[in-house]
Symmetry: C2
Subunit: 300 residues, 2 copies
């Protein structure tokens, strides 16, 4: 067993993304430790050989690298800064790898506090959805120190195929924000394109097929264009989480002195979805609120 | 020589797109006839073996299939309905293939008038840019009668790799309108994404690279994202033409009772470009007007 494989890995946040990522780390030959508020979340990973702990300090004490994958900034702050959290219990030299999508500012603040106790942090949000998490083909955007990134690159390689060190603390989260505003606008644009075909009495499936062969080609047109045609908005990526991410991105833009009218418009669509009780649907369902504004029937 | 190769092909509109398309038809073994208002536009094709005519009626008399590739609806109307035009001079049975991007309504109207004289029309706008035109890898979206489409498919195959019969007259133009609103919004969204990286002090080139590996992957992020990083806005596809196409698309949406807020926003960016004297730049230069609204410096 190599030194890298000898690293003991902790994974916290065993949801739709975290669970398959943890499983891929386990399968790659790393010793995997897990803890979850809901013990039932650990069952499958324990069956695969992971060690489940009953509390976070216990996990902290026996891990060299601890991954986090939770929903929002306050969740990460609770795990790191809260009572019984990692700032208090992780060993000096521990590397915390945050796969969550959260505020770049909060990330920089926590990284600084952790560094004062000799604990390293990397922000490492991902793109590629549950499909990419299961297949181990995620794109992983990493912020933090380059030498720390190098130490965990082999572990990240178990989860993704496009793993890039973007810059210092927070740069991974900025990169994810750039991703989320592009994806949101692309979802809305694909929706508008399919709606225009339908409103004009033209076969939208053929339009999607034609557009995939030209400059309009995109993974979103491919995957989410098909979802729109199928009227299938089971997540995937919930619009309420995408709405949360747009808030992070627009805050970052605001701090940089930048107005992003397209991202703002997409964020308004996502907000309308949340307000209309569609927050649990895939964010490609944005086409529903666009269509509704024109009293236009959907694909069904 | 097969029957198909024996078809005599005319090509009118030897611009940035038409000239390489005509050359590919010539190279595929078809007898090529050309005519242009500016005789110098025919020099290269004559050197390759094409027959240049001194007027449109002369070309009309010796062609079985006549391609058009001009800028806007009035240009096509002039060639078909104008004095000395194709409605007057083309032989019954002639197939007119319009590669221009024009109004679906005007297309349907001309197709009807031509049909009354036994002349067939196909709307066949393309996507893929000058690069695709030269390489013969365009996406071609065809509207009109299916049996007429089948007759010219072999000729279209000389120009493109993704050739689809979308529906009846005008359906090709509707498909192109769907393409243009998706491309315009994608250009703007890629621009916003690169600007957010820069405004946040993060390496936009690394962000582009990371995003290409995830859900945000698109041909526009690949090609035009790089243009934005390089501050290289030589067309490509001129924003003034893209602005014209957005007008066609928004008219079609309006007729279908549909509002498209994202397409509307992108059209406003393109209009601002035209008003600011940037109409001759590639439409990816939309990021300039987005940045200018925040007094934000560009990539340079």
């Amino acid at each position: 067993m190599t030194w890298k494989k000898a690293m003991r890995i902790g994974y916290i946040g065993l949801g739709i993304m975290g669970k398959p990522m943890a499983l891929n780390i386990q399968k790659a030959g790393f010793e995997l430790h897990i803890w979850a508020r809901r013990p039932e979340a650990t069952v499958d990973l324990q069956a695969a050989g992971a060690t489940a702990h009953t509390n976070l300090p216990a996990l902290s004490q026996c891990c060299d690298v601890i991954f986090l994958n939770v929903s929002d900034t306050p969740d990460v702050e609770q795990l790191i800064l809260g009572d019984g959290g990692l700032l208090e219990h992780a060993k000096p030299g521990t590397i915390i790898v945050d796969n969550s999508t959260i505020s770049p500012d909060a990330t920089r603040h926590m990284a600084k506090q952790l560094a004062e106790k000799g604990i390293h942090m990397l922000d490492a949000p991902v793109s590629g959805g549950d499909v990419g998490a299961i297949a181990g083909t995620l794109s992983i955007m990493v912020g933090g120190k380059a030498d720390i990134f190098e130490k965990v690159k082999a572990v990240l390689s178990a989860c993704g195929t496009n793993i890039l060190h973007i810059g210092d603390h927070g740069a991974g989260q900025i990169c994810k924000a750039c991703n989320q505003i592009l994806v949101a606008q692309s979802m809305a644009a694909v929706g508008e394109s399919m709606l225009l075909a339908k409103a004009s009495g033209v076969d939208a499936a053929k339009v999607r097929q034609a557009l995939l062969g030209g400059f309009a080609q995109s993974r979103i047109l491919d995957i989410h264009g098909q979802r729109i045609l199928d009227n299938n908005f089971a997540p995937g990526f919930k619009s309420e989480l995408h709405h949360k991410d747009m808030g992070i991105a627009l805050d970052a833009a605001n701090q940089g002195g930048l107005e992003l009218p397209g991202a703002q418009l997409a964020a308004e669509h996502l907000q309308a979805m949340v307000e209309q009780g569609l927050g649990g649907e895939d964010s490609s369902a944005m086409c529903k609120v666009i269509a509704a504004e024109s009293d236009f029937p959907l694909f069904d």
